[in-house]
Structures are given as structure tokens and as C-alpha cells.
């Protein structure tokens, strides 16, 4: 377990251990390989894009492993540069850790990475002189606690067109819109921290450790928000795409989403405020309007919707605000159903969707994360949908999960009580849920892989009545065809 601490709080022995490990992997040539891995990556595959955060999470994780090997301490954690307390007089810039600012030419002449002790490399791997820092010349200030808190409040993770113009948390943290956290840190240090060879300065790793901590804090604050995109973005950016210039295995965003599974623990500085998760307000599906307002930039307002039966529902906002709504469920606040921006009147959002019975979470934010505004929200069923019927001991029904997060609902009627098999067939990793009798919400059982291969199978003694089966892909981002049948 790597314990990652505020660099300013490291003890003298912790500082000495970190510096010695960095110098040792520099001596072995390992450090410069990290510089080149970053410098030779496709710039726009690892910056200005969704993979910016997972790519750098994996990058500094690999670096941390090398430090642990060099030090012999499996718990050695990268320190993070706590920007609000990390100005030029902060102790992380002392001579026993990073050393200080450069001279009039930018050359660093203090600390363990000073000229004569530390040589940087260019993108060809050739020695390129001393480490350079020109603090405050390109950016006058570091991010504040309130700026960080404001960015942590942003959702969703990212949005199309998935670049430096996109709205969302990633781009605000990276720094091309909004408060500008990450980019500003590079620019504040200046010198060797500005080009693609920026890992030449060891503060790069502390800087990205802080970036990664903020992503971690955001993940804790917004458990219903996942990595985006899950598909249809440029290759290398989607949840299950391999990332550029990253060794296998575990080189996809999905592999590094959980810090704790990587053995990483962040020791909080106790100052950055993670916004509380608001309890969702119940939105009745009776056409009544609920008024709400976004009073903090980036605020997300959550509503709970209880769909009593499978039907087509309309959810929409009204007012002058440019709203965006995201629907999650059923009965899983992490399972995204759909997102809508401008499907309603003017800049309002509207979702018209067939929904299985169950509980849903509707999140509403403003398109511009820097805007404030009010809106009204209403929901109503707009018609029952025909639920396909499965004939007991009849022919199988062929179907497909055709897009991310889709689920299919079926009904069947038991007129001869006894043991019934409900099972899928095919190459798709299905997950089924059985409800009843005579209820779309009374869950009897779930199954993932009890059938052949990755298929699902439930065997239940069923009394007379009507039953419902919901089928989805085990993976929320995957699709595939399957068949389903019920046999007594």
C-alpha cells in the first residue's frame, strides 16, 4: 500500500528516502525512460483528451513502483504537491527535497537536482543541460482551495468533442477551461516543466500526484459518475481502449479507475473540501412541476424517479436555462441509461425513454459549468409499451443488446406451477433478473453466468402468475445478440 502524503508534511527521513530513490533510478537510467515515455507519446492522445487522467494515473503509478524497488520500501508513496500551500516558500522547495527556483537564467542551483548533480534529457534521450525553473514568470499564482473545490464539483467526467474545448470535470482539472489547475502548475514552475519532456523535473510527479488526488476525490464525491467516453470517441480514449504509450497489461482507462485496487491511499491534507452528495428529491411522475436552481457553478441537482411499471416516460425541463440531464438506473445509480442536452424546448433537455419498473436517478446540470440558473422539471408516463411475451416451452426469442446500458424486458405467464428454467444462449455475457408474480418490481433473483459459457440461467419453482425477466449485458458498455427461452 502506497501512502501518498502532502509533500510539505514529509519528515526528514521520508524526504531523504524519496530523494535517494529518485537519484538511484536516475543513475540506473530508469528515470530518463519515464521522461521519454511521456515525451514520445502522441501529445493529443494523452493531453487535451479524456485519457489525460487515466494515462497519467498509470504513469505515476509505474514511477512509484520503481521508487519502491529502489528504496526497498513497498509502502513508499509519491508525495503530492498541495498547490494551495505549495508556493515558493513552501518546504517542498527546500534543499532536502526539490530545491528551489532557478537563477536568472532559470538554472536550478540548489537542492539534490541542482546543476552538476542532475542532467535533463531531450526527446531524443540526449543530455540537454541543467534542470530549469522560472517560477511565476508564466503564471503568477497557484490554484486555491476554493478553485479546487469548484472543479471537484463539476460533472460529468468529460463530454464530446472530447478535446480542449469540452466541458466537464476533466478539462477543468486539466486546465483548458475554467479555473485551470493542472496546466497552471506546469506554467507556474516554468522552465523544464513546460515542454513534453516535463518529467525531467521531479516536481512533475508530485504535481501529477496532486492531479490524481483531485480525480480520486472527485470519484469519491460523485459515485454515480463514471469515466466518459465509453464508446465512439477516437481510439485510445474510450473506457476499454488501450492507451497510447502505456505498457501492457492493464493499459486501458477501465484498468486504473479504482485507486484502492492499485494499492494507493491518499492522506488528506484536511483542507480541500469535497462537496457532499445531495440526497435526491423524489420527482413524481404526475406532470407536476418541481422548481430548482443551480446556485453554485458546476452544481448537479439529483432527483429520484420511481417507475411503477414498464412504460414509456417523458422527463423534461422548462425555463430559460440550458440544462443537461443524465438518467441512471434502474436500481443502480451508476448505470447510465441516457443523456440529453437540447431535446426539449429551446435549450431545455428532454428524455423520452421506455423504462423498466424500478428506481432511477435523474441528474440535472447546466451545459455551461460556469453558469447559474433555474429551471422546472416534470415527468410523466406517455403510454404503456408492449412487453414481448415468452411462451413457456415455446420457441426461443432472439434479441440483442444493441447499445450501451440497454436492457430488454420480457413477460411470461405460469399456468402450470412448478420448476421453470429461464435461460439465455449465445456468445453474449448476459445478466438476467426475474420479477413477480404479478409485479414488475418484486425481485425474485438475479443471475450472471449459471448458464453455458457466459450465459445466464435461473431455475425457480414458480406458482401461477405473471413474471417479468430483464436482460442486460454484464458490461454496461458492451453489446451483443442472445436468445432467451423459458421451459418448465
Amino acid at each position: 500500500m502506497a501512502i501518498r502524503k502532502d509533500a510539505n508534511t514529509l519528515t526528514s527521513s521520508e524526504r531523504a528516502e524519496f530523494v535517494a530513490a529518485v537519484l538511484e533510478i536516475k543513475r540506473l537510467g530508469i528515470y530518463d525512460q519515464f521522461v521519454l515515455r511521456h515525451a514520445r507519446a502522441n501529445m493529443t492522445a494523452i493531453h487535451r483528451c479524456p485519457a489525460f487522467l487515466p494515462w497519467h494515473r498509470r504513469f505515476i503509478y509505474d514511477f512509484e513502483i520503481e521508487l519502491q524497488r529502489a528504496s526497498g520500501n513497498p509502502n513508499l508513496g509519491l508525495p503530492y504537491w498541495n498547490w494551495p500551500d505549495g508556493g515558493e516558500t513552501a518546504s517542498l522547495w527546500d534543499d532536502d527535497l526539490l530545491g528551489g527556483n532557478g537563477d536568472t537564467n532559470g538554472v536550478v542551483r540548489t537542492g539534490p537536482f541542482r546543476s552538476g548533480r542532475w542532467t535533463i534529457v531531450n526527446r531524443n534521450g540526449q543530455a540537454n543541460g541543467a534542470l530549469r525553473r522560472e517560477m511565476r514568470q508564466n503564471a503568477s499564482s497557484l490554484p486555491t482551495i476554493s478553485e479546487i473545490t469548484g472543479v471537484v464539483a463539476q460533472t460529468p467526467y468529460d463530454t464530446a468533442p472530447w478535446d480542449a474545448s469540452a466541458s466537464g470535470f476533466r478539462n477543468q482539472l486539466e486546465g483548458f477551461i475554467g479555473a485551470n489547475l493542472h496546466n497552471r502548475g506546469h506554467m507556474w514552475v516554468g522552465g523544464s516543466m513546460l515542454p513534453m519532456t516535463s518529467p525531467n523535473d521531479p516536481v512533475f510527479f508530485m504535481h501529477h500526484c496532486m492531479v490524481d488526488k483531485i480525480w480520486h476525490d472527485w470519484q469519491v464525491a460523485h459515485p454515480s459518475q463514471g469515466y466518459q467516453p465509453t464508446g465512439n470517441a477516437p481510439f485510445g480514449q474510450n473506457l476499454t481502449d488501450p492507451m497510447d504509450s502505456t505498457p501492457t497489461p492493464n493499459n486501458r482507462p477501465i484498468d486504473v479507475l479504482d485507486s484502492s485496487s492499485l494499492g494507493i491511499e491518499y492522506q488528506q491534507s484536511g483542507e480541500i473540501i469535497v462537496p457532499p452528495i445531495a440526497t435526491p428529491q423524489l420527482l413524481p411522475l404526475d406532470e407536476s412541476f418541481i422548481n430548482a436552481s443551480i446556485n453554485i457553478p458546476g452544481e448537479v441537482i439529483r432527483f429520484q424517479i420511481d417507475a411503477p411499471e414498464f412504460a414509456s416516460y417523458r422527463l423534461e425541463t422548462s425555463g430559460n436555462s440550458d440544462t443537461v440531464m443524465s438518467l441512471f438506473g434502474p436500481n443502480d445509480a451508476r448505470a447510465l441509461v441516457t443523456v440529453n442536452d437540447d431535446g426539449g424546448e429551446n435549450l431545455n433537455s428532454r428524455i423520452v425513454q421506455s423504462l423498466s419498473a424500478g428506481s432511477y436517478i435523474l441528474e440535472i446540470r447546466l451545459y455551461n459549468p460556469n453558469s447559474l440558473g433555474s429551471f422546472s422539471i416534470s415527468g410523466q408516463p406517455i403510454g404503456t409499451s408492449a412487453i414481448p411475451t415468452l411462451a413457456v416451452n415455446g420457441v426461443q426469442t432472439n434479441a440483442a443488446i444493441s447499445f450501451s446500458n440497454e436492457s430488454d424486458l420480457y413477460r411470461f405467464t405460469v399456468t402450470n406451477p412448478g420448476a421453470h428454467n429461464i435461460e439465455t444462449e449465445g456468445q453474449t455475457d448476459t445478466f438476467i433478473s426475474l420479477y413477480g408474480p404479478n409485479s414488475q418490481t418484486a425481485l425474485l433473483d438475479n443471475d450472471d453466468d449459471s448458464g453455458s459459457g457466459l450465459n445466464s440461467r435461473l431455475r425457480w419453482n414458480l406458482p401461477n402468475g405473471e413474471y417479468f425477466v430483464r436482460v442486460r449485458h454484464y458490461s454496461p458498455v458492451s453489446t451483443g445478440s442472445y436468445s432467451i427461452r423459458v421451459n418448465r
Partner: protein, 71 residues
């Protein structure tokens, strides 16, 4: 902007009508954001500049490729 030729920190900067930039004869790729009127380059991934000449000077000064290394 008309053609610009400038010696900056010992590096020859040449700009031809805002669409071609060379440093010491090497063609430098860059992107112009028409909406925000900013210029940026893969050489300096974290920053954007308000003119092409500012970007060129920053690449010369910061990239370490067009000036003599300092010790």
C-alpha cells in the same frame, strides 16, 4: 500578419502569412484556435499563446531544442 524574420536567443524564427512557422529552418506544426484566437503547439502542451510570434519565441526559449543547453 506579413512575413516575419527574427533572431531570438540565437534561433532564426520565420513566419510566412500566419500559416508557416520555421525555427532554424525546421517546420513547426501548430494549431490556431479561431474561436479564442490562440496558438498552441505540441512542443508546449500546457500553454496557449495570443500570437504566433509569442508561441515561436516560447518554443525557442522553453523546448530546449533550438537553444544551447545551459549548465
Amino acid at each position: 500578419m506579413a512575413s516575419v524574420k527574427e533572431d531570438y536567443e540565437g534561433c532564426a524564427i520565420e513566419i510566412e502569412v500566419e500559416n508557416t512557422l520555421t525555427l532554424n529552418g525546421k517546420k513547426i506544426e501548430f494549431t490556431h484556435d479561431n474561436t479564442n484566437q490562440t496558438w498552441h503547439s505540441d512542443y508546449l502542451p500546457y500553454s496557449q499563446y495570443n500570437s504566433l510570434i509569442e508561441l515561436a519565441r516560447a518554443i525557442v526559449h522553453e523546448s530546449g531544442e533550438f537553444t544551447k543547453a545551459q549548465n
